[in-house]
């Protein structure tokens, strides 16, 4: 079904983005402008831009979807995304800004003096950004699918073209303004519908969440099965059926008793108000008390919930500092102090945002159990407004969330594409604006093509993978590189390869379906809990074993990292920007 209001909203987002981007075009001249917007960005604007870039498909759609699916424990992802910025603020922001390197590979080589380490770090940037970029494209595909009722590829291609054009033509000056605009757009787009649904359309009580065994349909609900499913019914119910159930074509009332039923794709089942939602046999909805638990239940199963919870916290809190597209943004701060103030504001902005996915998840549990039955929990933010209110209000609110979701993909993919293009043009193609543009276009085309292929892979798996790898590689590299004098390039390399490699391997195995329950499931799906310590251990032991490869002037590097700018002999390396 086409949603004209949503389409108008999406087009408006794209146009406003293009206009703000074009304003920046005129001021983009030098490579420095392109990569870091010439450091003219004040803290509040910069904080909005960082938040805008950070809040991706995972935040806008994924958290509410995963929380609806697995329970309130999934909100630890959101908490960890914010806590990551506290780590960034207290341990990384100011020193990294003072050091004057623009990217993580710059930092790795500048701090430890090894071109080999730089190349490995560049590869890591591409891997992490790549795995973070694909789910954004997938999110766009889904959103436009909901808005247009059209094929998945439209959204992927639209996002790919808009982002690539924006970056190849405007650089980051435009992007700073675009990202800042998009933070406020995203906040509005999720806050207004959430509050409106809560105040005007929600009449139940949150307490009932905990008491019911299965989710209850609060109103007559028409469930459409996009794919063939096996559902299991716990309480007998009479539904209106249109389609094919257990091989029989039906049109009219159907009595479902306790047991399993096979439902063909495209079948409509209309459940009366107050009836219990059936379960998808393959993925039953968690019971109320399990859903309301504050622990991470992987795949909805309470196996070793504390280890899983700490795994999520570690991956998100340390992964945030290792995300390549976020770090580059800290060079748009005037100095180390500016970087700190910016980061503190980011924590507040992100905290405001993450209240609303939680609200959407709770409302979804109460109001939209049909999403469990059709395994469409990821789209809860997109469809809830129209499920709850069939009138004009629902349509408008639905259009607003679609616009916000599109902004989420747009801003995060821009940031990722910039860091990937920056890494390639910087380290492989040679310098300058033309190489950067070429890299941006080439990567945009490749990413769009890959985005078409990941329709079947979960957004959360890909995003979680990116965080776990970042937490197990760049996280320790930055923390030790900034605070530990004796880190050597050999140790850092060992940590990057062992930690990042182990995290990647674990998630590949988890995706391949190895270890569905018990410890294997926890250790493979939330690898950070062991790969982060592994990376730290490898870096420390490797460095202690290779003291001779300490960089020549460690003291100079530490001065560059920690000395406030006004105490320096020279201005910081602003002038020596590597183009």
């Amino acid at each position: 079904m086409t949603q004209p209001a949503a389409i108008v909203a999406l087009v408006a987002v794209a146009i406003v983005t293009a206009i703000i981007g074009a304003r920046g075009l005129r001021v983009s001249r030098t490579p420095a402008d392109f990569l870091v917007a010439a450091r003219q960005v004040p803290p509040f604007l910069n904080a909005s831009a960082i938040s805008g870039e950070y809040l991706s498909a995972a935040s806008f759609l994924g958290i509410a979807g995963l929380t609806l699916l697995e329970g309130l424990g999934a909100l630890w992802y959101a908490v960890g995304y914010v806590a990551g910025y506290l780590v960034l603020l207290a341990a990384v922001a100011a020193p990294l800004r003072r050091f004057g390197a623009y990217t993580i590979p710059d930092f790795a080589e500048g701090r430890l003096g090894s071109p080999l380490l730089r190349r490995v770090a560049t590869v890591m940037v591409l891997v992490i950004s790549g795995f973070y970029l694909l789910p954004q494209l997938k999110g766009a595909g889904i959103t436009l699918e909901v808005a247009f009722g059209g094929p998945y590829w439209i959204g992927v291609v639209v996002l790919g073209v808009v982002v690539t054009t924006g970056i190849a033509s405007g650089g980051m000056k435009s992007i700073t303004l675009v990202q800042a605009f998009q933070y406020w757009l995203k906040l509005t787009a999720i806050a207004v519908p959430a509050v409106a649904l809560l105040l005007f359309f929600h009449h139940g009580s949150f307490g009932s969440v905990q008491q019911t065994v299965a989710p209850i349909f609060s109103r007559r609900t028409d469930v459409v099965f996009p794919d063939a499913e096996t559902i299991s019914v716990h309480r007998a119910v009479t539904v209106q059926a249109l389609g094919n159930v257990d091989g029989a074509s039906l049109r009219g009332a159907l009595r479902l008793v306790h047991g399993n039923y096979t439902v063909a794709a495209g079948t409509h089942l209309s459940f009366p108000a107050g009836s219990a939602a059936p379960d998808l046999s393959s993925a039953p909805a968690p019971a109320g008390s399990a859903w309301a638990s504050p622990l991470v239940h992987l795949n909805g199963v309470a196996d070793h919930p504390m280890a899983a919870t700490y795994g999520v916290l570690l991956a998100t809190a340390l992964g945030a500092i290792g995300l390549p597209h976020i770090l580059v943004r800290f060079y748009t701060n005037r100095d180390g102090q500016g970087a700190r103030r910016t980061t503190a504001v980011v924590i507040a902005l992100l905290s405001c945002f993450y209240v609303f996915p939680a609200l959407f998840a709770a409302l979804g549990r109460l109001e939209a159990p049909g999403l469990y039955v059709t395994s469409q929990t990821d789209s809860v933010v997109l469809v809830l407004p129209r499920l709850v209110s069939s009138g004009i209000a629902g349509t408008l609110l639905g259009a607003l969330v679609a616009a916000g979701a599109f902004a989420a993909f747009l801003s995060t993919s821009s940031g990722l594409l910039i860091s990937m293009a920056g890494a390639i043009s910087h380290d492989i193609l040679g310098r300058g604006v033309r190489a950067f543009r070429f890299a941006a276009v080439a990567l945009g085309v490749i990413a769009t093509a890959l985005g078409l292929l990941v329709a079947g892979i979960s957004i959360n798996l890909l995003v979680g993978w990116a965080f776990a790898i970042a937490a197990s590689s760049f996280g320790p590299l930055l923390l030790l590189g900034i605070w530990w004098r004796r880190l050597t390039w050999v140790g850092a390399l060992m940590g990057l390869v062992l930690g990042g490699g182990a995290a990647s391997a674990a998630v590949v195995l988890a995706m391949a379906g190895v270890g569905q329950q018990g410890w294997p499931a926890v250790l493979l799906s939330e690898p950070a809990i062991w790969t982060v310590p592994l990376a730290f251990l490898a870096m420390v032991l490797g460095s202690l074993a290779t003291r001779r490869s300490l960089p020549a002037d460690v003291t100079g590097k530490l001065l560059a990292l920690h000395l406030p700018e006004h105490l320096r002999r020279h201005r910081p390396a602003a002038a020596s920007f590597p183009p």
Partner: protein, 153 residues
């Protein structure tokens, strides 16, 4: 001694500087050649070279005093960092621990709303924000004290 004294012109010395360090320990001519020799183009917007304050030279001197000054600065900054991150870690790790040890905490409700929704859906953020603000204030004060110390000498 100023940065531009002697036969070295800091602008000319720029290309020899290791990427990202920006701060040669000694005057460029006697500094050991950096392992990375990144050729760096001067940007048209180069800011003017700053004349250093005499006392901060102590920091750049490669003697024990300079080293001591630097490591005391780093240690003090790390102290502020740890004193913010440690409470944050305790705060975050405590709730899951309690929920596992005391099941009634996992099931608790406040005015009919699950406690998990209140804490994870918003309640946990204000302490994180406050810790962040507290860190910024303390880090800025620390740096102010350090630069006062240098200029007082």
């Amino acid at each position: 001694m100023t940065a531009s004294s002697g036969e070295s012109d800091p602008v000319a010395a720029e290309p020899d500087r290791a990427l990202g360090t920006g701060l040669p320990l000694t005057d460029p001519p006697v500094a050991p050649p950096s392992p990375i020799r990144e050729v760096v183009r001067a940007s048209p917007r180069r800011p003017p070279v700053r004349v250093p304050s005499p006392v901060s030279d102590d920091l750049f001197a490669e003697d024990d005093y300079g080293q001591t000054l630097l490591s005391s600065l780093i240690r003090a900054q790390l102290g502020v960092t740890v004193s913010v991150l440690l409470p944050a870690a305790v705060l975050l790790c405590l709730y899951p621990l309690l929920a596992v040890l005391v099941p009634s905490i996992a099931r608790a409700t406040v005015l009919g709303v699950p406690l998990a929704l209140i804490v994870l859906g918003g309640g946990i953020y204000p302490p994180l924000i406050l810790l962040g603000v507290w860190y910024v204030r303390r880090a800025e004060r620390l740096e102010q004290r350090f630069s006062d110390l240098l200029h007082d000498e």
